[in-house]
Symmetry: C2
Subunit: 356 residues, 2 copies
């Protein structure tokens, strides 16, 4: 039976990426060698890295003055890399979930941290609004999409300070005005590639303004200066990233992807809102993520949660169990998830309602 | 034509690893999903991680009191992680090459660094001996195998201080007495897996002895406490590592591998020493690496370098160009390289000699 992959991350990748990567694991670019065993200095891989960087710039319309880098490891390492590079005295953090809180915790090792707002009071089920950011902070850090709680900041904030965004779970899902940000970083394992690589978009003007010595590998300038080849990059994940970026471009780019994502999310949210057995955990439309759609059983049907999980599983749905801190269900509808998978889940919800 | 992969890293992996990884990229553990798109929390991947850690312990006979972790990124990040975790006041570094020097440079951000010896005077073509290590250093750092220069410390030093070793390019190639070391770390892309993951063997007693706050992701205890699952690990590289570890065990373990490695290296060094056209860059037998065999044209035949490169290439040899800081040739003979590949290279050297 066909599987419908709703995992929150690592998560579904395009068939194009999977097919090409499987081939390259056997024979990469006609070298007769696996992509896992070729030198990162080989001309074939150097071309992969250069193309991947160029495609990120093209797809996201990255303006002059910004550089794109691929670094090994995940976004969690960026939680300390950002303050290492940018925090002189004081930074502002918006607390919209446990990843945002983890980023904030690391910054405290480097200077004063101001939490400008938090939605922890309601288990992070909304995005705080109307908060003020002191004008003298070095930057404001946000987590644009909160994978666990299903909230998303879908507009580009402009609050008069440098803006840093963890876009791990919504990068490439919607158009973004890069010029509003100083640093964007994203672990690859949602909309881009298998885990093991992080992409960062860095405004060069933001760097070199702190006094501290920065470990070489945590200094964004190291990777910018060497075109992401200072040390051995994660070759296979970068190769897979190039496949996904190529697929994105071939399928109309970010605008087209966003249209499909909104359609998929609307389809599912509409069913959640109209099916008396279910309830979305995020109420405000404007705060609802189009990448991670969280819902629970309505209270009077709480005991039926296991039944619905079984039904959905029997239809091929995988990875729809909600995170333990929210409970219920979470359907992640990343770029690569076909509309058909959402239709299968919605049909299961309708079938469930008609049976009970 | 069959390729003989002599790349220094990323480098040749066992056919077993390549075949199983290619299959898992399409269908992982019968899930119907790619290993690139399954949750790291799935029971199938949790089992992969647990088995990989257990096999490292088994193969290297890791004693009680040590933990094995897999972390994202490469060994270069360990250059700052080690002093972050261990350097209180003073550390000793043995300078045997440019990677050793890079490790030493990072340590200077954290305390006093004593270079106990250096072979830089002769372009790192030997391993310094008879040096003294002050008894009051927090640790001595060595690079056990110097990929660029083809030297190797093939015995386990015991100098009365904590010992930290970068074994990126010789881990799993020879038996090691783990109890002599406090930390061993190794980027995976030589004898283990594709690039993007680093394995570390950490003596727990060595940790918690520094006063500074350590960023969460750079704290060994984070990864030990969470079984290498604090954040999303590089799933595919860890899966590939498990395949290589399984292959190692199925092929007699480290002792058997070491025997083959010594045979391969001896075969090639003997030809280099006996063929008047070539010369090994490392003279002392005891310092010669069994993983990276560096040789140049004898001076009177210097102009024939290109000719030999063409001949070797015509026989299917890939990646034998020496590092720019040494020149000439470098044949990396990692675990997965079959004896046949060395025989092809040696035959090319003999053919070259007979033709000129």
């Amino acid at each position: 039976m066909k599987k419908h992959n709703f995992y929150a991350g690592p998560s579904i990748l395009p068939e194009f990426t999977i097919k090409n990567t499987a081939e390259a694991v056997v024979n990469f670019a006609g070298t007769g060698l696996s992509v896992m065993e070729v030198s990162h200095r080989s001309k074939e891989f150097v071309e992969v890295m250069e193309k991947a960087i160029a495609l990120v710039k093209e797809l996201l319309d990255v303006p002059a003055g910004y550089e794109v880098i691929f670094v090994g490891g995940g976004a969690s390492t960026q939680f300390c890399t950002v303050p290492y590079n940018l925090l002189n005295k004081k930074a502002a953090y918006l607390n919209t979930g446990s990843w945002a809180a983890k980023a904030q915790k690391e910054a405290k090792l480097f200077g004063e941290v101001i939490e400008v707002a938090s939605s922890k009071d309601k288990n992070y089920n909304y995005i705080p609004k109307g908060f003020e950011v002191p004008a003298d902070v070095d930057y404001l850090h946000i987590t644009s999409n909160n994978t666990i709680y299903g909230t998303e900041i879908k507009t580009d904030l402009d609050l008069g300070v440098r803006l840093v965004a963890d876009m791990s779970s919504d990068i490439f899902s919607r158009p973004v005005d890069i010029s509003k940000y100083d640093i964007i970083y994203a672990g690859a394992q949602k909309n881009l590639a298998p885990s093991g690589v992080t992409v960062a978009i860095v405004k060069e003007d933001a760097l070199g303004k702190v006094d501290r010595a920065i470990p070489t590998m945590l200094d964004y300038r190291t990777h910018i200066d060497k075109g992401s080849m200072f040390n051995t990059p994660p070759v296979l994940p970068v190769y897979a990233a190039l496949q996904t970026l190529t697929w994105l471009k071939d399928n109309g780019g970010i605008q087209a992807m966003n249209k499909k994502n909104v359609e998929k999310a609307t389809l599912l949210y509409d069913e959640i809102d109209n099916n008396k057995f279910f309830k979305a955990t995020v109420e405000a439309q404007e705060d609802r993520s189009i990448m991670n759609i969280c819902f629970v059983m309505n209270e009077e049907y709480a005991e039926l949660e296991k039944d619905f999980m079984e039904l959905a599983t029997s239809k091929g749905c995988v990875g729809i169990k909600g995170h333990r801190s929210v409970g219920g269900f979470r359907a992640s509808t990343y770029n690569a998830l076909p509309r058909e998978s959402v239709e299968v889940l919605v049909a299961a919800m309708k079938e469930f309602a008609s049976k009970h």
